[in-house]
Amino acid sequence: MVTDKEEVFSIQTIDLTKRFAKKKHRGIFGFLRRNQANNKHNGVTVALDKLNLSIRPGELFGLLGPNGSGKTTTIKCLSTILIPDEGTAIVNGFDTQKETAMVRASLGMVVGGERTLYWKLTARDNLTYFASLYKMQRSHAKKRIEELLETLQLADRADERLEDYSTGMRQKVAIARALLHDPPILLLDEPTLGLDPGFARQIRNQIKELSEKQGKTVLLTTHYMDEADQLCDRVAFINNGKIVAVDTPNRLKARVKEKEVVEITVYSPPADIEQYIRFLLPDAEVVKLIPGDEDEGDASRIKIIGGTPEQHIGTIIDALRQKKIRIGNLNVGVPTLEDVFIKLTGTKLTEGKT
């Protein structure tokens, strides 16, 4: 563990920086154009920009951000899959660049979900294989595998190939793999992504239990605001590789006052609707259109944060009607983590670089 002014952390990053070179693809005859673009790299993407994080032992910590904000890069740097360009990452007291074997033994991770298993093998075969990579004694591994299969309700189908499993069941095997060697720290990257609500609930309960009953430190990245709100002790917002805010979900939500948030569900809004509402409500801090997939029955939403939007609801509704935009629903107040993120970054969580 790392101590910082008497505080003890399971995970700590200090000015962690990771850059990726953007390669310019010039095709087979690209060398002929070398003189035009002497540098083979077309710039650099800063995935992590002096990232500082401190996660306490036993804490269930959420890392929230849009695609390309640096969530997965953070997890890959912590798990030693990527080597950072600058800065330090300490996991369970071990430096990720100097004590890699100890860091790896301290971690269990779920990154990339169900695709990261051997589909032609059974759940038991998968777990047996990974147990050997974690240097587990055969008899101990066998007992542990049985225990995990039982806990995750996979025992009945443990000897079937994963290709015959549902997405949710495969995700459970991925979680069992992360827990095999009973690590004190878990890195979970979007563990409920693509799962049906029933399986997602089971996985969330499992995560909560691992933190509360087994005292594991969990770093969870997710797109789902409700999930982070419901599970996490503390949440960090990450945007463009930087931490924008860290606090408990309640304290973060308190940064946006009630009645400071108006959300209007609309159908087929024109592209200039944001500018139009901004013109009507000049004191609003953020006006954001969150497009929905209307073919899938998912309407678009307009978020208005800051200022006094509740006093101008009549004006907004009249304006939308004038533009012949169909209104589905209108909510005032009760800010969510997404509202806070939008207010802090001007970006919604479902957008960003991919």
Binding site: K18, F20, A21, A47, T73, K76, S79, T80, I81, L82, I83, D85, A101, M102, R104, A105, S106, L107, M109, V111, G112, R115, T116, L117, Y118, W119, K120, L121, D125, T128, Y129, F130, A131, S132, L133, Y134, K135, M136, Q137, R138, H140, A141, R144, R161, R177, L180, H181, D182, P183, P184
Partner: protein, 283 residues
């Protein structure tokens, strides 16, 4: 962490190798068509050589061939060449492809993020590839005994096996380099095919070394397959023992050592490089 580091280093390393072999072979056998390939292909493989021999010298015996090689039998000569060459094809292609497949299915990150020494994972992969090569080679030898009356004395098989293992060690070194290439560039198939053809031309697979021009013979001496073929043919066709070929055996061991050391070094270097560039997880 309770389960980690609970057994001796040797045992845990052997367990990694064993479980890698089990995993690869279970995955391979999940595709039943491979069994048909193993059963049928070795028979088909012989037909062009028999027809070629008939057309060129009117049978499977040649006086000119005997003058160069010391044995007039054409079929046993090329059977040995083909069997050892099949190890080249499988091992050079197999390791790089295996790494590429792991990256594609997303399991490579998990293998690399585990605390075990990755060298043992690679050794397990290499041995897995050798198992299928050996099954294929055994089918070819069995067919040549049953259909073409090739004479194999059991006493010679132990030294032949020993030399085959030495050949495989050199090939493991090369396949590690190809796996490293696959880690960085996400494919090594074309390169392994090219190297396979270079071996096929400059090593005495289908013709004796003496048929090559002088410079090509010198180049051929850098290839481990050349020595393995000379030694094994000497054992099986001329009935010699180690004393007749000890210089070739020493040369093979030296080339193996160089290739293995270079292979492990290049793989570790490339792993580090891809972890820095971020291309390790790409596919």
């Amino acid at each position: 962490m309770e389960g980690a580091y609970q057994q001796s280093v040797l045992r845990s390393n052997l367990s990694v190798v064993w479980n890698e072999i089990v995993k690869n072979n279970k995955t391979l056998l999940a595709y039943p068509a491979i069994l048909i390939f193993w059963a049928v292909f070795p028979i088909f493989w012989f037909i062009p050589f028999i027809l070629q021999g008939e057309a060129l010298v009117g049978g499977l015996q040649s006086a000119n061939f005997a003058q160069i090689t010391g044995s007039g039998e054409y079929i046993p000569f090329i059977v040995i060449g083909a069997v050892l060459n099949s190890y080249v094809n499988t091992l050079l292609y197999g390791m790089g492809e295996n790494i590429r497949r792991e990256a594609y299915q997303g399991t490579l990150d998990y293998v690399l993020a585990a605390p075990c020494n990755k060298a043992y994972v690679l050794i397990g992969k290499a041995i897995s590839e050798s198992v299928s090569s050996t099954i294929f080679a055994a089918s070819q030898l069995t067919i040549s005994v049953l259909l073409f009356g090739m004479n194999i004395t059991l006493g010679v098989m132990l030294p032949v096996f020993f030399i085959t293992v030495l050949l495989m060690l050199g090939l493991y070194g090369m396949s590690l380099m190809l796996a490293a290439f696959s880690l960085m560039y996400k494919q090594s198939y074309d390169l392994s095919q090219t190297i396979g053809y270079v071996f096929y031309i400059f090593a005495p697979v289908r013709y004796p070394t003496e048929s090559l021009p002088g410079w090509a013979q010198i180049f051929g001496k850098l290839i481990p397959l050349t020595y393995a073929l000379i030694i094994i043919r000497s054992f099986m066709l001329l009935g010699t023992d180690f004393s007749a070929v000890y210089t070739e055996v020493i040369a093979l061991i030296i080339i193996d050592a160089i290739l293995l050391l270079a292979g492990f070094y290049i793989f570790s270097w490339m792993e580090e490089k891809t972890k820095k560039s971020g291309t390790i997880s790409h596919h």
